[in-house]
């Protein structure tokens, strides 16, 4: 298929490369230059990339970036033709998604929200999971592209429901990590060795992909960003905004947002979100990871 891929971030670039590898004709665009993908045409702007394609796939930073790419100057809108399908793999506002879809449909296009879950390794190896808001018919049309980039497509409902599922799942990640961080900080301050506590929980019902992934880094206090704190903070704001619009009360998430706020003020925004544990440890006077007395 002829595909435009807009947004060459950590995920987007790898996803576009997999489309090229699967034999699709790909044009790419990125806000800042120098992010070419071998085998893909590099475009000067979103309209240039999207012109005469069948599918425009986006993976950009936030809701404002999607609005800009679609409806801003030299945006996709200017070359949008009936039958063109716009897919958004960014993580953005579910309600804004519904508005964007209306704008695209008014011009005869179709719209699919399909945010992803999975690390950059999964993006590279084409093992992403898509959470999709669209009709089954549209999903079927896009199946060759989904298959090139991911291993599973979960249909979550109609437009916006992919985004709703994505932010709700990230909510779980934020609270699960907070549970791990508070639990580990308490155990450590009470004199349990961090290694012993982690050995225990990894053999119990509280084990999850979150602790599998984060615990080894936390033990080393290695907060090299995999999922930067500022992006999780952005997602938490998406959740709280969506919750406010829909009048949902999320008490624990509101508290966790305050922790991210403080962490951001303390300059941890570019570290991994796992760095939030360092705040709890500071407040508790837990001095160094892995050296508590037995």
């Amino acid at each position: 298929m002829r595909v435009a891929f807009l947004g060459m971030g950590i995920m987007g670039r790898r996803m576009a490369a997999n489309l090229v590898k699967a034999g699709h004709e790909v044009a790419v665009w990125n806000r800042s230059p120098g992010k070419d993908v071998e085998g893909a045409r590099t475009s000067a702007n979103p309209a240039d990339a999207a012109r005469d394609t069948e599918v425009v796939w986006m993976c950009v930073a936030d809701t404002a970036a999607v609005a800009q790419v679609l409806f801003g100057p030299e945006g996709v809108e200017s070359v949008l033709k009936p039958g063109m399908i716009i897919v958004d793999s960014s993580t953005i506002s579910p309600s804004a998604t519904v508005k964007f879809a209306e704008g695209v449909r008014a011009r005869g296009g179709d719209y699919v929200d399909g945010p992803v879950t999975g690390s950059k390794v999964a993006a590279e190896s084409g093992q992403l999971t898509f959470m999709v808001g669209a009709s089954q018919e549209l999903i079927d049309k896009l199946q060759p592209l989904f298959s090139a980039m991911g291993k599973t497509v979960f249909r979550m409902g109609e437009t916006g429901k992919g985004q709703a599922a994505k932010i709700s799942m990230n909510l779980m990640i934020a609270l699960m990590y907070e549970g791990f961080a508070e639990g580990l900080t308490l155990a450590t301050k009470l004199g349990v060795k961090p290694e012993a506590f982690i050995g225990l929980i990894q053999n119990s019902m509280v084990r999850s992909g979150v602790t599998d992934y984060k615990a080894p880094f936390v033990l080393k206090h290695d907060f090299t960003p995999n999922f930067p704190l500022r992006l999780m903070h952005k997602d938490i704001h998406l959740m709280l905004d969506a919750a406010k619009e829909a009048r949902v009360k999320l008490p624990a998430l509101e508290t966790v947002e305050e922790i991210y706020e403080v962490a951001t003020e303390e300059g941890q925004g570019d570290m991994d979100y796992a760095a939030t544990i360092a705040l709890l440890e500071k407040w508790a006077g837990v001095e160094v990871r892995g050296t508590s007395a037995d």
Copy 2:
């Protein structure tokens, strides 16, 4: 070995039965009568049960109950002999545990805190996990008894560290469930079908033993107690008390405690702790589980 087992609750009774089955000579006692265990001698009071035994194993309701059983009228103290080992599988205060251990050691006895994790099914089949605060030497002495009741013994450090690990792990359970409850409530209110959201998360990194166990019941709104809300609430108070003593700040847990407080006021104390989601749903105006529009 000659063992007294004090506390014939859901867990204790099954644990004592497994000691009998493994060939140990067991005397049992319970605060309220009528909780006999086949093959074990029923005792009138803790002292009567503990007299001339090698090991006294406790599994009672809370910190006050352990104090009472050990040092109250007709308590274990009155028959405590040098070399006798007291083991506590209740979930109680880590700092009180240290004091109880001092009291026992002052009379020549030994003390082990060994709270358990695992369901009543695990208690019945002898598959519990023990988190133990004691020397390795003491654990080795008790190995035949641990083996009769459990599959794994995790040594968490010296006295009190078993309790510290247990409440820290339960902290994780409370926050992980809250994450599931807030995530599911948000997704549902935003129009994602609960079944679809659960299908997604159970195939993702947020899957855990907590969602494996609770999700099917939550989908049916079946809050028949497995771990009653009032017991999780008691444990949350243990965590917050221990945190206060050790000067640890647990912001998300404090917020979750408020939710349990409201749930208790609304009469949900005897339901499973999973019933806390019903509050979030009520606040959000999510009407009935599993019928949201697509």
